[in-house]
Amino acid sequence: MRRFIDYYRQFDEMTPEEISADLRARRDEERARQLEEVPSLDLASGAWPGPPHAEAVNAATFALRRALNAYPDPSRAVAAIAQRHGVDADRVATGHGAGDLLRAALAAVAPGGEVAVAWPAWGPIPRLVHEAGGTPVPVPLGADGAPDAAALLAAATPVTRAVVLCTPNDPTGAATDPTALARLAAELPEPVWLIVDAALAPFAPDDPSTLVEARQRVLVVHSASKAHALAGLRAGYALGPAGSLIERIAPVEGLASPALAALAWAASAGDAAVERRRAHANAERERLARELEDTPLSFPAGHGHLVWLGSERHDGRTLAGHLAARRIAVMPGAAWGDDARIRIALRDAAATERLAAALRELD
């Protein structure tokens, strides 16, 4: 009989009071669990951690809704970029991010020769040189962590097709001295292309784009991923001599219209947003430097949100492992063939303080 009654009782609903008590208990349990959990912190990705400017998104959205049936018209974005850098429009090529422009440029200039690369640099460059049929020749950075212009000049041989450097450098954040860079551009033998990855240049006070006036065979590649926080749009542009290379590195049908619209906005009205990000990144660099004072940890002075951290006591693998155990993800220097360091992409004050606290536990 009891089983008979129990069978029907199981279909009885909970009372509102019971439901409320159950929800309260679940909430308390969830809160207790949240207090125990340490959220993961991704400091490995080199993309800017914050959202883009709302107007950049508006520009892309407007383009998306306006005439997606039509082929994109790059003229407005190209004119804005040309005006921004004070060059003619035929010296500008837009592309699917700095990476694709670099790949296309190397495919055009590197086959059969050597490419001197200031190393460590943006990770995929050696692979892109190989893909292009060239041989990458790593040239060590200077003591300050920036590409060494003199060493690059010395590395140029009769079989060198191009010299590639990043300034400010990814992963170190250090920028090559503009005077040394100008000297490199002036003294590099003319058949050699000077290719400058300027993805992080908006974070530095000096813009290497002026090199396009100093030399015929020079290509300066910019990205919207970092300073404009538009990594998802895959948009970038290159400045170089008018003619075949600029025409060859551009995608066949150009960029999608949302990317072009966002690029045009970034080139014509994005300075204030870039300035804020530059100040933010520099403040975080300074904060981390302060936090790590009196520790064996250090990183080169530089610009932007990327930090190349090393320790006198521990190698990069130990540093990365120690941070991973505290749910902080960073890029081990082994990715660049340097086991002594790690690359950290700074975010905000809270993230920097958590990172610094975790690092201080190590020493």
């Binding site: 069978y7 029907y8 009782r9 199981q10 279909f11 009885d12 609903e13 909970m14 019971e18 439901i19």
Partner: protein, 158 residues
Amino acid sequence: MPRNDPTDTGGLFIGRRPGTAPLHYRAAPETGGEGRRRADATLAALVLAAETVLCLSLWGPQPAGWLWIGSQVDYWTKSVTAGIAVAFAGMIGTLMFTLAIASRLDRLWRLLRRAAGHDQREGMLGRIFAVTAVVAGGIFLFWFVIIQGPGPTFSSTH
């Protein structure tokens, strides 16, 4: 998301729309086999019929019975007031008692419907009470106005 999705609150409510909350069981119930579900559906129908009969009794047999009892009290006590008081109190008392029984039957009906495999969220008592009131009220008005009221005075037989 479709416009009729109950979880789409349109920003008007913090949670879901009122009346769309799912049933909260203490544990996921285990429904019986096909035969048992059919038996439960039959039982549910019988319980619903009993509920209807109970509610109908509120509007006819019970008041009539209490009026008869009131008349007896009036006869034995020679007090009209006492008769009316007993009839009124009795009607209210049995109304409450009947509703209490009907409410329990309604709960039993919900359980049987759920056991029969239906997502039965609400009971039927309110609706049965209202419908039987309207039906009984209509019958009473017909009797009062047409049969026992001024109707016969208009007929040619008088």
